[in-house]
């Protein structure tokens, strides 16, 4: 009475043989293990081992060397000085911590606000602003910081301008000391937040936001309780970078005369010739960074940020008042103007005759001479080409290695996952000088990590240094986007027969792309501007643009230095525009348009 077969129907697929495993079986098993992807117990180690080796060789081991040096002589006394207080050590540590924490906060506010304005509203000129907004990150060292002084210090354009405007006796609102340091930090480091927050915003499940609105939450509340928490991986990533950068920041405290900071003390101790104490400072810096990192890891690890929704939700919320669009435009233009002010100042210097700008608010005389000077030097473009080439190489390496480590740390389960995370970030926590010196010691003779080659004095040491220093940028921001991606997408690809590599390439990596690109941009920009490490390892053939700028600064050719700085800024700007195109400027404006359509 029914059509249902009482017993299973006959098989039409090829039957499975019951034969014993063929002779090659065990080898195939073995091969399977290695191609086995996330499934194999070996896989994580196979993936991670070379990376761990690199990190150990270039970061961890030198760090230990630094530590060993710090305890070699007077170790107890050196470290004791941090605990006992009274001396400079403790107050430097405290000042550094305060500056770092405040920088994180300020950069967070500026960066996330910019991300919100630019990713959630579409208005004319949005794409241009998107390209401009990263330029402050590209401020050349030294001259960049000086431009802030020219702007905001007691003799700066703004206080003097206000003084003239209001006819007061003294400059109005001059920034100095810690406030000055913070303003430099905010304006140069907010891109960490901007980039990672925008990458995260575009990868977020929009229906979650809708759910919050539906439950009655207002816009502010949705941000506070849903969007920001959902952006946690991105914010953690940016916080780590900003915190560590601030901790290791040198030029800003130097210029604004805050000398009780860790980095200043490292420098002073080196000048004093007290190497063990300098190493002690460096080690404490490393330890503080690692502690901060572990804290953030714990904080982030408490929750999940992956979309749990069924299916793919549409990115679309229709905004009622068109006013928002225009407000966003105004706010963005204002913000951009403020952010660009230091760049504009450099331009001002570049176009003013040396020595013509003293007590005036803005220079009195203008000239093209600085640019003429640069371009009349036949080798003028060599440093630019060098910088481009070396940071491009380093960026590529950072992307390859950084993305894989990010994947390993987020998705694979293996012993030492946390250590790997720490090892990568350590390179960021160390001052650039330390990294460079470590590399010199490691490569001034041939060793296993360089296949027996002496790298010092060659071209390769520079990209290598950039790679080690800027790997954390790519790693962090890739890792943050990965935290949002539902692993079942990768599973689906694997289920459809894709090997791990293929699934990774066509699905996971593709979805991580906003974060990877953000990290790569940062790495590239930093590579082009890198100075502290470069100056210790460059050769005359590989002089980067920053060294060139610095040489001119040194001989107080501030005009030509600024002109060079402008070249660098323009270069970075072009890269931003191009990469904006590549990364789908169309897509990103479409995403933004969807929120305001």
């Amino acid at each position: 009475m029914s059509t249902i077969p009482a017993t299973p129907g006959p098989a039409t697929t090829a039957p499975v043989t019951g034969e014993p495993t063929p002779p090659g079986g065990s080898r195939r098993r073995f091969a399977d293990r290695f191609s086995g992807g996330t499934g194999s117990r070996w896989f994580p180690y196979v993936l991670v081992f070379p990376l761990a080796l690199i990190l150990f060789g270039y970061v961890v081991q030198p760090m230990f060397a630094t530590f060993a040096e710090s305890v070699g002589v007077d170790g107890v006394e050196n470290y004791g000085s941090f605990v006992t207080g009274g001396g400079v050590a403790r107050s430097s540590l405290v000042t550094s911590l305060i500056i770092s924490a405040a920088s994180v906060l300020l950069c967070g506010i500026v960066g996330v606000a910019m991300a919100f304005l630019l990713k959630r509203f579409s208005f004319p000129g949005r794409k241009l602003i998107e390209a401009i907004i990263l330029v402050p990150a590209a401020l050349p060292p030294l001259i960049g910081a000086i431009s802030f002084q020219l702007l905001y210090s007691e003799t700066g354009i703004l206080p003097r301008g206000l003084q003239q405007l209001f006819g007061t006796e003294n400059p109005v609102l001059p920034f100095s000391g810690i406030a000055g340091v913070l303003i430099v930090h905010t304006f140069t480091m907010y891109p960490y937040f901007y980039l990672s927050a925008s990458a995260a915003l575009s990868g977020m499940d929009p229906s979650v936001e809708e759910a919050a609105y539906n439950l009655g939450a207002g816009r502010v509340r949705v941000w506070r309780t849903v969007l920001l928490p959902m952006l946690t991986p991105a914010l953690v990533s940016a916080s780590l970078l900003v915190f560590m950068t601030s901790l290791a920041s040198y030029t800003a405290p130097l210029l604004f005369g805050v000398d009780q900071t860790m980095t200043m003390q490292i420098y002073i101790n080196r000048t004093n010739g007290d190497l063990p104490m300098a190493s002690t400072y460096a080690s404490v810096l490393g330890v503080v960074s690692v502690l901060f990192l572990l804290g953030m890891r714990w904080y982030e690890g408490r929750r999940s940020y992956r979309s749990q929704s069924k299916g793919v939700a549409a990115h679309r919320r229709e905004i009622t008042n068109p006013l928002g669009k225009w407000l966003a435009l105004t706010a963005s233009i204002l913000a951009t103007a403020v952010l660009l002010a230091p760049v504009a100042t450099i331009a001002l210097v570049a176009f003013s005759a040396d020595g013509s700008w003293t007590t005036e608010v803005i220079p009195a005389a203008y000239t093209m001479q600085n640019f003429v000077t640069i371009f009349s030097d036949p080798a003028a473009f060599q440093p630019i080409l060098n910088s481009l080439q070396m940071s491009l190489l380093a960026t590529v390496a950072c992307v390859v290695v950084g993305v894989l480590i990010a994947y390993a740390v987020r998705r694979l389960n293996f012993r030492g996952r946390g250590l790997l995370d720490v090892a990568v970030m350590l390179a960021w926590a160390l001052p650039g000088t330390v990294v460079a010196i470590n590399l010199i010691s490691a490569f001034s003779t041939g060793n296993a990590f360089s296949f027996g080659q002496v790298l010092i004095g060659t071209f390769w040491i520079m990209p290598l240094a950039y790679f080690v220093r800027f790997l954390p940028l790519v790693f962090r921001s890739s890792s943050a986007t990965l935290a949002q991606i539902d692993p079942s997408l990768e599973e689906a690809a694997r289920n459809l027969g894709a090997s791990w590599w293929r699934a990774f390439g066509t699905v996971t990596l593709r979805l991580m792309l906003p974060g990877v690109v953000a990290g790569a941009l940062l790495a590239f920009v930093h590579g082009v501007g890198e100075f502290v490490a470069s100056v210790l390892i460059y050769t005359s053939d590989t002089a980067p643009i920053s060294v060139e700028i610095n040489n001119r600064m040194y001989s107080f050719e501030i005009g030509t230095a600024a002109a060079y700085g402008m070249l660098q800024v323009v270069l970075i700007f072009v890269v931003m525009v191009v990469s904006g195109r590549l990364e789908g400027g169309r897509r990103s404006s479409r995403e933004a348009a969807k929120w305001t359509a």
């Binding site: 001396g87 400079v88 030294l142 000086i146 002084q149 020219l150 210090s153 007691e154 003799t155 030029t251 130097l254 210029l255 604004f256 005369g257 000398d259 200043m264 420098y267 002073i268 080196r270 000048t271 004093n272 010739g273 007290d274 005759a353 040396d354 020595g355 013509s356 700008w357 003293t358 007590t359 000088t433 010196i437 010199i440 010691s441 001034s444 003779t445 002496v454 010092i456 004095g457 060659t458 071209f459 390769w460 100056v535 210790l536 390892i537 460059y538 050769t539 005359s540 053939d541 590989t542 002089a543 060294v547 040489n551 001119r552 600064m553 040194y554 001989s555 107080f556 050719e557 501030i558």
Partner: protein, 329 residues
């Protein structure tokens, strides 16, 4: 990029490559190297100059000890060079010019030699002050009229400033046994100091933009800035004398010794020295026949201080200044 420095003998050329780490201004180093290769054409295209800060040279040479990349260390304070010598980084030899040189300007074992003398003088903004208004001696700096008008290149990180400050202490206690009067003096100076500048550039900017009007700085740079960069700077030779620093040169141990020695000998060529004195306001550490006008009229009055005492105590004094005096006056 080239291979390792010293052992590059490829091509069988008549001269080995010569790598010079220099803290000299790029204009100076280019000029000198051009003259050098003109005289020794076999070095054409073989001289590699890296312009670095003095501190960076020390760091680099120190880090590269296992496989030295540099042949010549050109430009460094007495202290820096002595540290290098102490760490066995420098080659010892006796060049021809050594005999003409005052022993206090060179290392006894011939590991480094003074090249130029840097008198430390009082600098002022000559747009803001007339020469008559400018202070005449070190003690004048403590006068209340200069309150907050003094800009000082931050001391701890600057070799020049460290030497000046240490000299101020030794001035009051020649054997260095009692730094207290010196500390008191420096404390009063700190009270008058309006701002500390982060680096020379910052100092020039602050002074030219009249955040302050007076500073203490080395004569050569004052003259260079005033005459070549249009800066409104003038100087006063302090009545009680100027501390004179020695800036020197050394051959790096394990480098291309032949080239390095040839270059160093060349650097003390009488003609070259005269040119450098004329165009770059350098005061050579050896006597030269043909002095430019400014040098002849300089009337250099060295402050009589014992540099050995300074060398021994500088770190301690400056640390004390840094933690107890700076910004507390």
């Amino acid at each position: 990029g080239g291979g390792g420095g010293g052992d590059d003998t490829a091509g069988g050329a008549s001269a080995e490559k010569l790598t010079i780490y220099t803290a000299r201004d790029k204009k100076v180093s280019t000029y000198v190297v051009d003259q050098f290769t003109a005289k020794y054409p076999e070095y054409k295209g073989k001289v590699e100059i890296l312009n670095l800060g003095a501190q960076e040279i020390l760091e680099r040479v120190r880090a590269e000890k296992a496989n030295p990349q540099a042949d010549v260390w050109w430009g460094g304070t007495q202290q820096g060079l002595s540290a290098g010598a102490g760490e066995d980084l420098l080659a010892s030899w006796q060049p021809a010019f050594a005999s003409k040189m005052d022993p206090k300007y060179k290392d006894a074992e011939g590991r480094w030699f003074g090249e130029i003398l840097l008198p430390e003088v009082i600098m002022y903004n000559n747009k803001a002050l007339t020469p008559e208004q400018a202070p005449k001696d070190w003690d004048d700096l403590l006068k209340p009229e200069w309150k907050d008008k003094i800009i000082i290149r931050d001391v701890a990180a600057s070799g020049t400033m460290r030497s000046i400050y240490a000299s101020m202490i030794v001035r009051q206690s020649p054997d260095g046994s009692n730094p207290q009067p010196g500390y008191d003096w420096l404390k009063k100076l700190d009270a008058n100091t309006g701002a500390y500048a982060a680096n020379p550039t910052d100092l020039y900017l602050k002074l030219s933009r009249q955040q302050g009007t007076i500073s203490a700085w080395n004569l050569q740079d004052v003259l260079l800035q005033a005459n070549q960069s249009n800066m409104p700077f003038g100087y006063v030779m302090p009545a009680s004398g100027a501390p004179v620093l020695v800036d020197g040169i050394a051959a790096v141990k394990g480098g291309n010794t032949t080239g390095a020695q040839k270059f160093m000998e060349f650097l003390f060529d009488d003609k070259l020295r005269a040119d450098l004195a004329k165009d770059y306001y350098q005061i050579p550490a050896v006597d030269i026949a043909e002095k430019p006008e400014w040098l002849a009229q300089l009337g250099l009055k060295p402050l009589d201080v014992n540099w050995d005492v300074i060398g021994k105590n500088e770190t301690e004094w400056i640390n004390h200044w840094n933690s107890q005096i700076k910004n507390k006056g």
